[in-house]
């Protein structure tokens, strides 16, 4: 079994096989950090392929699940800090009045599989909650998702509250969700708009000026 085969299994989205191969690799003495590094490249290329319409959403999600399974399994093997520190801390939630969470959950999965630390504050989250949780976590990014044109104004409210409390420069505010757009991000003064889940890790890493690799 080789790292290449593991990469292929993750690309196929075969979680069981991915875990099995990863287990064999580790038992055979392969450095977990090398595995992680290769898988990160795979996930990046999957994100790119999705952006180019070469693969479809369910395929990308299956790969993300497979990747997450491997990372979870290897967690005990990777000593704290060894895998390189986290790329950034993110508070992630769906805004008030909105109970849609599929998109947010995909973003969470992809961020975690790209070594962001994510705290998911769930759906129907009050703007104040986003800010409080960010303060508590010491987050770098506040990510707010909205699927309905009627709940989008709550993304703006998060920014308004940050301004009111003099915290605006402390956090990068990232927005996403089907009805949102770059224009909307500009309009409300968000730091970043992510057009799809596949691009989120890369764009958010760039926002924090961290090299993706």
């Amino acid at each position: 079994m080789s790292i290449e085969e593991l990469c292929k299994a993750v690309e196929r989205g075969d979680q069981e096989e991915s875990k099995q191969i990863a287990r064999q690799l580790i038992d055979g003495g392969v450095n977990p950090l090398n595995i992680i590094s290769s898988l990160t490249e795979v996930m990046e290329s999957i994100g790119d392929k999705f952006s180019r319409l070469e693969i479809f959403l369910p395929e990308m999600m299956m790969s993300g699940d497979a990747m997450a399974g491997v990372v979870q399994m290897m967690a005990p093997q990777i000593k704290a800090g060894e895998a390189g520190s986290t790329k950034g801390k993110v508070i992630l939630g769906t805004v008030k009045g909105d109970l849609h969470e599929i998109g947010k959950n995909i973003v969470k999965l992809l961020l975690e599989s790209n070594f962001f630390e994510v705290k998911d504050i769930g759906v129907d989250s009050d703007p104040v909650k986003f800010v409080k949780e960010a303060e508590a976590m010491g987050a770098d990014i506040i990510g707010a998702s909205s699927l309905m044109t009627t709940t989008m104004p709550h993304q703006k409210e998060i920014i308004d509250i940050l301004k009111d409390q003099g915290l605006r420069d402390k956090y990068k505010v990232v927005i996403g969700g089907a009805p949102t757009s770059q224009e909307w991000a500009d309009e409300i003064g968000a730091d970043l708009y992510c057009p799809d889940a596949g691009s989120a890790p890369k764009l958010m890493a760039e926002l924090l000026k961290i090299k993706v690799r």
């Binding site: 319409l53 109970l99 599929i102 409210e157 224009e183 889940a197």
Partner: protein, 481 residues
Amino acid sequence: MRVNTRFQNTPGINLLTDDQCEEIYLAALEVLERVGVMVYNEEALTLLKEAGARVKRNHVILPSYLVKKALSTAPSRIAIGNRNGERAMFLEKGRVYFGSGSDTQYTMDIGTGERRLVVKQDVVNAARVIDALKNIDFAMSLGIISDVPPRSAYIHQFEALLLNTAKPIVYTAGGREDVETILAMAEVAAGSKEKLEDNPFLICYAEPTSPLVHPREAVEKLLFCSQRRMPVMYVPALMLGATGPVTMAGALVVTNAETLTGLVIHQLKNPGAPFIAGGAAPALDMGTSLCSYGSPEEHLSCAFNAAMARFYNLPSFSTAGCSDSHLFDQQAGMEAGYSILMQALAGGNLIHDLGYLGAGMTSSLEMLLLGDEMAGIARHILKGLEISKETLAMEVIEKAGPGGTFLGENHTLKYFKSAVYYPGLLNRFDYVRWKKEGAESFYDRATRKVREILKSHPPSELPSKAAQEIEAITAKIDNTR
């Protein structure tokens, strides 16, 4: 007259047999009894529990006898008035009405095609154009107003409609408070609470969150409208393969389970209160992640749910006249055209979203005019074939004789306007005349006509005292939020 003769007088499509409807209904009942639903509203949970549902925190298992009971008390017809106190729409089996859409963030600027955020004047303009259009029967705002405080945007949208068109209004609202305010404004326009109750001219829009979740605000709206016996619709919008099964039958099971849950809550609160069903299951494009308003699945699902509503004997809400295109282009015309004819034939009562571009993100008055024209054509087609002595025209056929002409006949003069559809926007000039008249494209003509309407259609205004009172209500809301 001949005995024992059957004619089909009006055409229509019914995409489901009664057995198929029953299959979907039974599966929805099984979902309600086996999987259950989430309800985030205390009053609804109490009502459900007292009625016999098993409630554990927010999770509700709904026994099917509650659904059966709700279906037996819900009215199968709802009469909707207009602002002038006349009857305007009868939401009864087989009657179709067309209307605009509501909550788009953007609008396409008239003439320039530039996409920009919606401001209040856009909704005022939309209301005036809707008021003037012959085939648009009810008004929705065609935008979320961006230049007012976000928390009172719905109130401003309703005010802009109420003060500028006399046609029935389907309104969106944040929650119970908004509905209370909007009903207070409607009472002013109607003249009194009683007059409004006797002939309501407005319908509240509420929607569950698929799959099987009933949010606090949506249920609040259901309960409050039920209590006031004001019409409300409960319309699921499920994305195939994302917020519901990717296969249509499964998607219909989920949307029907959602609608029926809303109906049960609504009828428990006040049996006999007016409730409108509906729902769509558009495709989520798995490549681009766009929720498609022009997809055949969107329009099939609406036609299926129109059939389900007929099966339940409930009035229904449907969707057509909208496009995924960001331009007023061939795709927009094609998607609006086929969907309007298809939904008209499918027979859902309230067909909304005429005037939508950009997959529900952008409104366009040119697109609304296209929808109005297409609705006119659809209505003409729905007339079907009338067979009578007059329409068989035997006398005039004999009179003209072989090789004769019908142009000068009284029969032609009498019927040429009703027998033939005359378009308002479509080109019917020959090439030379078309060139001479300015060689306009359809888009050019639509823009010109929108501008003409805004300039010359006399606005349907309320008496100034009532208008001022309504504006004062809006101002008060702005100040308290």
